[in-house]
Homo-oligomer: 117 residues x 2
DNA sequence: ACTATATTCAACCAAATGGTTGACCAAGGC
DNA sequence: GCCTTGGTCAACCATTTGGTTGAATATAGT
């Protein structure tokens, strides 16, 4: 009856992503690791509220936290998104939107030996 | 009517996906269009409960419903997942790459339809 | 017209979210 | 030691969610 682990994990990840504040936090962490206070700074809500958001992101596995001194550092854990991302890709070929553009981007990114099909 | 607020659209899609029943429904609809009663059949909950889930899926744009006779047919609308899927891929798939460049690419790709933050 | 089927609606309930404020601990700086 | 800063905790509040049941609506079949 009870849903197995992977299902529950998808629940947590998708639920965590269903809030604009939390998505914004994840985007900020894409740039760099950040202290909790600095994460909270751009938002017009209390530090406690942001702290709760971080707790949810932690439970979903999307971020990790490490306390050094009195500062708690948050770092992105993008691997937690992989299963959810793959699940979604089962529903369509979203990459078909502009595969050429993506290819050009990846080639530029990976450089020389990227294309040899 | 079109979702005027792009952030809200990601909210709705991710929230809709955060429930195992709704994900299971979407997977069922991957096979074929289904009537509401048939969608509800495998689940150990009332028809009304499933109907509510379908309402949420509708609001998120993930399914469409068409009433023919007294039967309401549900069909998958996987395009509604696109923006969310692409948003996620900005985190998981290309970690080794230049993330700023990827962000610029995705922004250009999604246009104003999927800008969050 | 009567009845059965398909689906939603309405009222209710319990639990979770997203936010607030104020108190609380922990770690530095002086 | 004392004060400030970093961060969580606890209690509270409003709203949403996920479920129930029973009544209501609409269409089909006979």
């Amino acid at each position: 009856m009870t849903q197995s682990n992977p299902t529950k994990s998808l629940d947590l990840v998708f639920a965590a992503l269903a809030d604009p504040t939390r998505r914004a936090i994840l985007e900020m962490l894409l740039e760099d690791d950040m202290a909790v206070t600095d994460v909270a700074e751009p938002f017009e809500m209390s530090l406690a509220a942001v702290s709760k958001h971080l707790t949810l992101l932690m439970r979903a596995g999307l971020i990790g936290q490490e306390k050094r001194g009195r500062v708690k550092w948050c770092k992105l854990e993008p691997d937690a998104m992989r299963a959810a991302s793959i699940w979604m890709q089962g529903f369509g070929q979203f990459e078909a939107l502009d595969l050429d553009g993506l290819e050009r981007f990846l080639e530029a990114e990976l450089g020389e030996d990227a294309e040899q099909t």
